[in-house]
């Protein structure tokens, strides 16, 4: 791998790591369920960027684009169903705070 492309990967890789850390931190410290989903979105964005950069560097752009399309479809479905669950929980508990959801507690 030539030095120039490695520097490029390093720059993008640093951004990917930062995005991942931001998303993970948000998921870990917040109790609001919508904010948890937003954190999850940021993590998925980090993964998307990593895939695209890897495809660009290895010159497998077409393959990576198909993978990214699949990832985006799964992400959209996941968020839709998760929002449905969050709205259902809000209807039952009148709150989006994860600490107040005790219905599943054995």
């Amino acid at each position: 791998m030539i030095l120039e492309s490695f520097n490029l990967f390093w720059f993008f890789g640093l951004t990917v790591i930062m995005l991942f850390v931001i998303g993970l931190y948000y998921v870990l410290v917040t109790y609001n369920l919508i904010r948890v989903l937003i954190g999850l979105e940021i993590i998925v964005k980090a993964v998307t960027l990593l895939l695209v950069v890897a495809g660009y560097m290895t010159k497998h752009v077409a393959l990576v684009q198909s993978l990214v399309i699949t990832l985006i479809v799964i992400e959209a479905v996941l968020i839709t169903v998760a929002i449905g669950v969050v709205l259902g929980l809000h209807g039952k508990n009148d709150s989006l705070d994860a600490r107040r959801i005790r219905n599943l507690k054995g």
Binding site: L49, I72, L78, T80
Partner: protein
């Protein structure tokens, strides 16, 4: 790598950070949409226009609309809850910029001598042909996931019979 790429990457991290740090949930959702838009610009610059269009239309458009409509369906906090929440946020989030700056400095100092093995060169360069011929099982998976999502939403919002 041009100056524009570096600017877009910095903008991406800043907008993600703004998404996390903004107090208002609605503004946080809008900042997430902006993050997606910046990411789609970066993807476009990395020679992946189809993925960029998907990112722009689905993530910036559809998912942001979903988030904003969900936020409008839920009740806002009371004044006391807002005060309490602000104090908690300050306590929780002061670490984050610190972690990012220190982590970034440490990572940028690591010796860059790792070498990755390159895979075989790409045989097909058209994304449509790759998706329909090479990755046709992915399409089947996408259809199944979409159906699961549709049935999941139908079951979640099914009204009980009286």
């Amino acid at each position: 790598m041009t100056l524009l790429d570096i600017f877009l990457l910095v903008l991406l991290v800043c907008s993600a950070l703004a998404t996390v740090l903004i107090r208002s949930l609605l503004r946080s959702g809008i900042a997430l949409a902006f993050t997606s838009a910046v990411l789609s610009m970066i993807i476009f610059r990395l020679n992946s226009p189809v993925a960029a269009v998907f990112e722009l239309s689905v993530c910036t458009g559809l998912i942001s609309v979903l988030f904003i409509s969900t936020i409008s369906l839920t009740e806002p906090r009371t004044r006391d809850e807002k005060l309490q929440h602000t104090k908690e946020r300050l306590r929780k989030f002061w670490y984050l910029p610190f972690i990012l700056v220190v982590g970034g400095i440490i990572l940028s100092q690591i010796n860059k001598t790792i070498s990755f093995p390159l895979p075989a060169p790409e045989t097909e360069t058209d994304v449509r042909l790759v998706l329909w011929n090479l990755r046709s099982l992915d399409l089947l998976g996408q259809i199944i996931v979409l159906l699961v999502g549709v049935f999941g939403v139908v079951i979640l919002f099914k009204e009980k019979k009286k």
